[in-house]
C-alpha cells in the first residue's frame, strides 16, 4: 500500500474502525513514512478540536415524525405499480382467450366416456329377452352392436327353453 492508499484510510484508523490486519499494514507504513505520520497527527488534532462540538442525541420520536411526512412522496413505487395499467389489459385479454379456449369444448356436447364396467353375466332365467332383442333390432335407431352383444350373452337354448 502506498501513501495515497494509506491517507484514504487514515481517518478510519484514527477512530479504530479498520480491521486488525489492515491496521497492521498502516502501522508498518507509519513506522517508515514521516509524511503520513504528520498527516495522522493533523487528523488527531482535528478530532480533538471537534470533540466538544459533536451533536447531541435526537429525541426518540424525531425520525418517525419525519418518515411519516416523507413516505408518500419519497418512497419508490414497486415496479408492478408503475406498469400496472398496460399489464392489466394484457392479462385481461389473455384471460378471455384462455377461458374461451377452455369453454369451447364445453360448448359442444361430448359423449361421456364409455363406462369402464366389469364384465359380468347374469344368470336369471328369462325367455323373453330374445323376443325383446328381436323387437329392439327393428327399432329405427337400434344400437345393433349392443344388441349383438346381448344376443351373444343370452344363451339361445336357455332363451328358447321356457317359452312354450
Amino acid at each position: 500500500m502506498d501513501c495515497a492508499d494509506i491517507r484514504k484510510i487514515l481517518p478510519d484508523y484514527t477512530v479504530g474502525a479498520l480491521e486488525e490486519h489492515i491496521a497492521a499494514h498502516v502501522r508498518a507504513h507509519l513506522a517508515e513514512c514521516e509524511s503520513c505520520r504528520r498527516e495522522l497527527a493533523a487528523l488527531e488534532r482535528t478530532g480533538e478540536l471537534l470533540a466538544p462540538l459533536l451533536p447531541a442525541d435526537p429525541p426518540r420520536d424525531l425520525w418517525p415524525k419525519i418518515r411519516a411526512q416523507l413516505e408518500p412522496r419519497t418512497q419508490p413505487k414497486p415496479a408492478w405499480r408503475v406498469y400496472w395499467k398496460p399489464a392489466m389489459a394484457i392479462a385481461a385479454a389473455a384471460a378471455i382467450l384462455i377461458v374461451a379456449l377452455l369453454a369451447w369444448p364445453l360448448m359442444q356436447a361430448a359423449p361421456p366416456a364409455t363406462p369402464d364396467l366389469p364384465v359380468l353375466a347374469v344368470a336369471e332365467g328369462n325367455t323373453y329377452a330374445e323376443a325383446q332383442i328381436a323387437a329392439a333390432w327393428d327399432q329405427p335407431l337400434a344400437d345393433e352392436a349392443s344388441l349383438a352383444l346381448a344376443m351373444a350373452v343370452i344363451e339361445p337354448e336357455q332363451a328358447g327353453e321356457v317359452m312354450p
Binding site: 359380468l120 337400434a142 352383444l149 327353453e161
Partner: protein, 404 residues
C-alpha cells in the same frame, strides 16, 4: 373485467351446448335421415359396446363392416368373443364360435308406422368432434320430461351415429356404443353364404311380422289387447314367434324410444292338463297302458337337455373360466355343486315357477315382466316402463285371470 370475461364465457357455453327442441316435422325428418344412414352408409370400423343385462353390465369390443342394408359384426374382445352377427336379406343371424348359426331373427323394419312416437320430442345441439369428425348431438325422448331417452352423436357428413347411449325410465344406462375407428371410404360388404344351423337348432327361433287375422289363427282367438297404454305408446304390429317347443304371438307397442311387448301363447285347456296329469300318475304307479314312445319321451328329453348343457359348458370353457368365476350362477356356486351340475339338477323353468304368480319378474334385457293367464291364453307383458305402468297395462287385460 376478469369476472365479466368469465361470465361471458359461461353464458356462451350454456347457450352453445343446450339442445334446442325441433318442431315435429323437422324431428321426423331428422330421425328418418338417421334411420336411413344407419341402413345405407358404408363403413368399416371398430367399436366398444356396453349392454345392461339384468342389473349388471357386459362390455365388448367389435369390428364391423356395413352398408347397403348388410352388416357383418364380430365380437373381438370381452364377453362373447368370437361370436359373429350377419344381417342381410332382411334377417339377422347369430353365428357361434364354431361357425354354426344359433339364432335367426327376421327383420321387420317399421315401414308403415312413423319413426317417432306420438309425443316424442327431439332436441339437437352441436356435438363434440369424434374421431376427428364434427358431430350433431341428438336427444330423443318418448315424451317431454322423460328420463328415458336415446342420445346420438351423428356424423355431420353422413348422419351415421358414431356414438349412441340409451337410458331407461329411471335414467339408468341400458346400452352404450362408441366407434373407436371408422373408415367411410370402405365399400359395402358382400353377401355371405349363411351357415347351417348348429346341432340342436333344427328350427331356429324367429319372429315374423303378421297381420291380426293370422295372429288370431295362431292363438285360436283374437289376441288380447290392453285397454291402458303408457303415455305415447302406439301399436306397432303383430309378430309370430316360432320356437322348437311352440309358438306365440307378440303384440308390440312403442313410443319411439321404448318397447312394450305383450306375448301371448295358447295354453293347453284345463281338461287336457287334467288328462296329462292323470296319465303321468298312472305311468308312475305302473298302471295303465302306455306306448313305447310315451315311455321314451321323458328320457329323450333329459338326454337332449344334458347334451345341450354339455355343448354350452364346452363353449364357455373355450371362452375362459376366469370370466365365469364370480359371474354365472353365483347362487348355485354358493349352495351346492358347480354351476353346470346345478343347472342340470334344477332347470330354469322349475326354479322360476315358485316365483311366478303375482310377482313381477325382472327381464334380463329390458324392464320388468308380468305373467298371467286369461282363459286359454298365457300372457306375458314385458317392457321398458316403470313397474306401476306395467301393472296398469296387465290389469287392463285381465279381469278375472289368474297369475301363473
Amino acid at each position: 373485467m376478469l369476472l365479466a370475461a368469465l361470465a361471458l364465457a359461461v353464458a356462451l357455453a350454456i347457450c352453445g351446448c343446450k339442445p334446442r327442441e325441433l318442431p315435429r316435422e323437422q324431428a321426423r325428418e331428422l330421425v328418418r335421415d338417421l334411420r336411413q344412414a344407419r341402413g345405407e352408409v358404408s363403413l368399416k370400423g371398430e367399436l366398444t359396446t356396453v349392454v345392461r343385462i339384468g342389473n349388471r353390465y357386459v362390455n365388448a369390443e367389435a369390428t364391423v363392416h356395413r352398408g347397403d342394408g348388410r352388416l357383418q359384426l364380430e365380437l373381438t374382445g370381452g364377453r362373447g368373443k368370437g361370436v359373429k352377427i350377419v344381417e342381410q336379406s332382411g334377417s339377422v343371424w347369430q353365428i357361434g364360435r364354431d361357425g354354426k348359426a344359433v339364432r335367426h331373427l327376421p327383420r321387420n323394419p317399421l315401414d308403415e308406422m312413423p319413426p317417432l312416437g306420438k309425443k316424442a320430442v327431439v332436441a339437437v345441439a352441436r356435438g363434440a368432434r369424434l374421431l376427428g369428425r364434427p358431430t350433431e348431438y341428438v336427444v330423443i325422448r318418448p315424451h317431454p320430461g322423460s328420463d328415458a331417452r336415446v342420445e346420438i352423436w351423428a356424423d355431420k357428413e353422413t348422419d351415421f351415429p358414431l356414438a349412441t347411449d340409451r337410458y331407461n325410465h329411471a335414467g339408468e344406462l341400458i346400452s352404450s356404443t362408441r366407434y373407436t375407428a371408422v373408415d367411410f371410404s370402405a365399400p359395402a360388404p358382400q353377401q355371405v353364404k349363411l351357415p347351417e344351423a348348429a346341432t340342436g337348432h333344427d328350427r331356429l327361433p324367429e319372429a315374423k311380422k303378421i297381420d291380426k287375422a293370422k295372429a288370431a289363427e295362431l292363438l285360436g282367438q283374437d289376441p288380447a289387447e290392453p285397454k291402458y297404454l303408457p303415455e305415447g305408446f302406439q301399436l306397432q304390429g303383430y309378430y309370430a314367434h316360432h320356437r322348437q317347443h311352440g309358438q306365440g304371438v307378440e303384440v308390440r307397442y312403442s313410443d319411439g324410444v321404448r318397447l312394450l311387448n305383450i306375448i301371448e301363447i295358447k295354453l293347453p285347456g284345463r281338461e287336457q292338463v287334467r288328462k296329462a296329469l292323470e296319465q303321468r300318475r298312472e305311468q308312475a304307479s305302473g298302471r295303465g297302458e302306455t306306448t313305447a314312445d310315451q315311455r321314451r319321451a321323458p328320457q329323450q328329453r333329459r338326454e337332449e337337455l344334458r347334451e345341450r348343457w354339455q355343448q354350452r359348458r364346452e363353449a364357455l370353457g373355450q371362452a375362459g373360466r376366469s370370466q365365469r368365476q364370480d359371474t354365472e350362477r353365483p347362487q348355485a356356486r354358493q349352495h351346492g355343486p358347480s354351476g353346470d351340475e346345478a343347472d342340470l339338477q334344477q332347470s330354469p323353468d322349475r326354479q322360476q315357477r315358485g316365483e311366478w304368480g303375482g310377482k313381477m319378474m325382472r327381464s334380463r334385457l329390458r324392464g320388468n315382466i308380468i305373467r298371467f293367464r286369461v282363459g286359454d291364453l298365457g300372457i306375458v307383458v314385458a317392457g321398458e316402463v316403470p313397474a306401476e305402468e306395467l301393472r296398469k297395462v296387465a290389469d287392463s287385460m285381465r279381469k278375472s285371470g289368474t297369475d301363473f
